[in-house]
């Protein structure tokens, strides 16, 4: 048995996974439209490289920058660019934003993809660039650029690659489906990632309830050269799939507060990201599609779909038999950390792991929050051992400094405290908004500091100028007196 280091707290939640995991994985037919938001992860809007009316091929880059923090986006099929239109964005604010829209022509013509026959002969730096060019980001939901994560700052020595197949949030089964259907690609991707990082150990964590996935991986492992990869069944406990929790569980190491896993020698990637890396390196194919779980009481057939990125969510729902009468709310992600979607017109993005079409019984009814009775249940389930009720106290009183003393930034917003709170207080929501306030305050402070520096510099400059001026006048006067004296005597 592999030694595990269980983290504190966590919750056993009803899984609701069977509905989608039992149905076969279906490949989505070509959509009529593909939609690509131009707004990036960091909030900047990238420049479109294509013009309205232009024909694009599958795999053609639509927008790009040199920066690794903004990987390119590729057209997932061939068609004609309609232009830039406004669509609602996946954001709690429900704002609209500019999107590139492509009318799909059905030919699915592709640019030429060229991979490496043997990645082992290629320099890691070249592979990293290829991963960036392939537009690969973390497919677990956070969509962090993979190339950056694979190129940690120099002083850190990486010894372990962790592959995250612990899909702990209820309802979501896209990774389960991926592990069953693409087990060999996962392992091959792992080998490539290990080559790039220069490590010899890979821990592939899979929830112990995903027996079929574990069996599929073991079969694939015995068929190839994957000895360095260790398949580790982990307990089904929310939030085991959180990066920091998983690293702690597997290695007993804790990521320092405010730091990154590389500081403790670990790099962690989602299993779907490993498959994307395999496809990019061996086939040269950029990230064009992903598996999306469509589930919930609000949709007729729950299942996993292999969908092209950019496909409108409405088309996914249609393939799943449409909405049922009990549909209440559309959520991207799971019930714990998902974001409510204002409309099904928005597209599948690289971060879309699950569309939860919540029915009547599945929406957490916004119950009237009662006063906190300090029962401490929240503290006992917190996986980072915060004291949510005291944090809540300070956050509500807008005592952000006290909240920082109680380690507000360490909250991972998993929502365990919300679930157990007998007073139905939306704690994680309070913490999220408090974090935003802290960030805004810090930005304001930085701005103020900057302004003060400039003001001080200006004052010094003025003072210097005045002194110089006085000096010059004095010198001039002395010179004049001297000249006058010379004149007199001469």
């Amino acid at each position: 048995m592999f030694k595990l280091w269980p983290f504190k707290g966590g919750l056993r939640l009803p899984s609701h996974k069977q509905a989608s995991s039992l149905a076969p994985l279906q490949t989505m037919p070509l959509p009529k439209q593909l939609i690509y938001p131009l707004i990036q992860r960091n909030g900047s809007i990238s420049q479109s490289l294509v013009k309205a009316g232009e024909r694009v091929l599958k795999g053609q880059v639509l927008n790009s920058t040199e920066e690794w923090s903004i990987p390119p986006i590729h057209a997932a099929s061939s068609g004609r660019v309609v232009g830039i239109q406004s669509f609602p964005l996946i954001h709690p604010s429900g704002m609209d934003g500019p999107c590139n829209v492509i009318e799909v022509d059905g030919l699915d013509e592709s640019v030429e993809f060229n991979g490496f026959a043997d990645y082992r002969t290629v320099e890691p730096q070249v592979l990293l660039d290829m991963i960036h060019q392939a537009g690969i980001v973390g497919l677990g939901g956070a969509a962090f650029p993979t190339a950056i994560k694979l190129d940690p700052p120099k002083p850190h020595r990486i010894d372990t690659l962790v592959l995250n197949g612990a899909e702990c949030e209820p309802y979501i089964t896209c990774d389960d489906s991926l592990l069953r259907h693409f087990s060999e690609e996962v392992l091959s991707g792992a080998n490539i990632l290990m080559h790039i990082l220069g490590v010899n150990d890979c821990l592939l964590a899979v929830e112990d309830e995903m027996q079929e996935s574990i069996a599929a991986l073991e079969t694939a492992q015995s068929n190839g050269d994957f000895r360095r990869i260790k398949i580790v069944p982990v307990p089904t406990l929310y939030p085991t799939g959180g990066e920091r929790q998983l690293i702690q569980l597997l290695t007993g190491r804790e990521v320092p507060a405010g730091g990154i896993p590389a500081e403790i020698g670990v790099v962690c990637h989602n299993v779907a990201t490993a498959v994307a890396v395999h496809q990019a390196i061996t086939d040269g194919e950029p990230l064009l599609s992903r598996i999306v779980t469509v589930t919930g009481q609000g949709v007729r057939n729950s299942q996993n779909l292999l969908a092209r990125i950019g496909t409108p969510i409405a088309e996914l729902i249609e393939v799943c038999g449409g909405y049922t009468d009990s549909v209440q709310r559309l959520i991207m992600g799971g019930p714990m950390m998902g974001v409510a979607l204002p409309s099904d017109a928005m597209p599948v993005t690289k971060a879309t792991n699950c569309i939860l079409v919540a029915g009547q019984d599945e929406v957490i009814v916004d119950k009237q929050a009662m006063p906190c009775i300090r029962c401490g249940d929240c503290a006992s389930v917190c996986p980072v051992e915060l004291l949510p009720q005291q944090l809540y106290w300070h956050v509500r009183a807008e005592q952000l400094e006290r909240a920082m003393e109680y380690h507000l930034p360490d909250c991972i917003e998993c929502g365990c405290c919300d679930v157990v709170c007998p007073s139905h207080i939306p704690l994680a929501q309070h913490f999220r908004s408090a974090k935003t306030k802290v960030t805004r305050k810090e930005q304001e402070k930085a701005k103020a500091d900057h302004a003060r520096l400039r003001y001080d510099a200006r004052n010094t400059r003025k003072l210097n100028e005045q002194m110089e001026k006085a000096e010059a006048t004095k010198r001039k006067r002395e010179l004049l007196t001297k000249m006058a004296e010379n004149h007199k005597s001469g």
């Binding site: 804790e254 401490g376 051992e385 004291l387 109680y406």
Partner: protein, 321 residues
């Protein structure tokens, strides 16, 4: 909150069995007074009283205070105590969740200080009672205290009372404990009441309604200090088990000290909080001015709870030890 009331039932049954149905009358009076006081304050505070009345916290405060009172205490004392508990102990601080002190114990302490005679007039236990009081007898005595004159031997010192006064007169412990009111683990009647509360408390623990740390550390703290002095001089200090099953020990351990609003909240803090209540109960019983010390021990530790919390914060993930 409902489960707390349910868990009190075994203790209340033992009280009725050993000390007559007076406690039931007190519970009814306390419930009416408590809910009325809560409703009135909320109306004055311009809040909707319904959600607060339905959350059951006022009812729990009322019942906890009622079962702590001598069963035949005059009705006005109960009404005063419960109203004070709800109005001053809870609502004036902002209501449920904002009160720093356990409201039931605030009410109890105010009554004990204001009306010491009425508050120490306990009934003899079943085995020693010369008269059996019916429900209507209790009602008549509670509402017309002078009616008590028509019954014989209505009050008797509790074992803890007797211990305090007799030890003060330098009587040997063995001699004191040979008095009829002693017997079994502690005193006749009292051991059953305490066992009833313990039973209800264990059920609450099993249901996960209360945290195990406070009852465990409270009882362990009390046991250890009692054992220390018992071994030191057993002619002066009664056994740890006597303390466990006397007075309000079990009620306090499972129902009073576990009130989450006023207790310490961190895991380690709760252990410290409970243990210190146990020690204080022993100190007040042994050397203080009152025969039992639970109310004061709990109130004193309520003061200390925020400080305990501050110094017992757990280490957060990713921060060095």
């Amino acid at each position: 909150m409902l489960s707390i009331l349910v868990a009190l039932i075994p203790g209340i049954i033992a009280l009725v069995w050993q000390f007559g149905p007076g406690v039931l009358v007190q519970i009814i009076i306390a419930l009416i007074a408590g809910l009325l006081a809560e409703a009135l304050v909320l109306i004055v505070r311009k809040r909707n009283p319904l959600p607060s009345l339905l959350d059951g916290s006022a009812a729990v405060t009322a019942v906890l205070l009622a079962v702590s009172l001598p069963p035949l205490v005059p009705w006005w004392a109960t009404v005063f105590g419960v109203s004070f508990a709800i109005v001053f102990g809870k609502q004036l601080y902002g209501g449920l969740g904002y009160n720093p002190f356990n409201p039931a114990m605030v009410g109890y302490a105010v009554l004990l200080i204001s009306f010491p005679r009425q508050m120490t007039a306990w009934l003899p236990p079943l085995e020693m009672a010369s008269t059996t009081l019916s429900f209507s007898d209790c009602v008549s005595i509670i509402f017309h205290p002078h009616n008590a004159l028509s019954f014989d031997g209505l009050t008797q010192a509790t074992p803890l009372d007797l211990l305090k006064t007799q030890l003060g007169m330098e009587t040997h412990l063995d001699e004191i404990q040979s008095a009829r009111v002693f017997g079994g683990l502690s005193g006749k009647g009292w051991q059953w009441v305490n066992m009833g509360y313990m039973l209800g408390g264990l059920w609450l623990l099993r249901r996960g309604k209360i945290d195990w740390r406070i009852p465990l550390s409270f009882l362990s703290g009390l046991y250890l200090i009692a054992m220390f002095f018992f071994l030191f001089d057993s002619s002066l200090y009664p056994s740890p088990l006597f303390h466990w099953f006397s007075g309000a020990t079990m009620l306090g351990a499972f129902f009073i000290a576990t009130d989450p609003v006023t207790a310490a909240t961190t895991p380690r803090g709760r252990l410290i909080y409970g243990a210190l209540i146990g020690l204080l109960v022993y100190v007040i019983r042994s050397w203080g001015g009152y025969p039992d010390g639970l109310a004061f021990a709990v109130l004193l530790m309520n003061f200390a709870a925020p400080t305990i919390d501050h110094y017992t914060r757990p280490r957060v993930y990713g921060h060095g030890s």
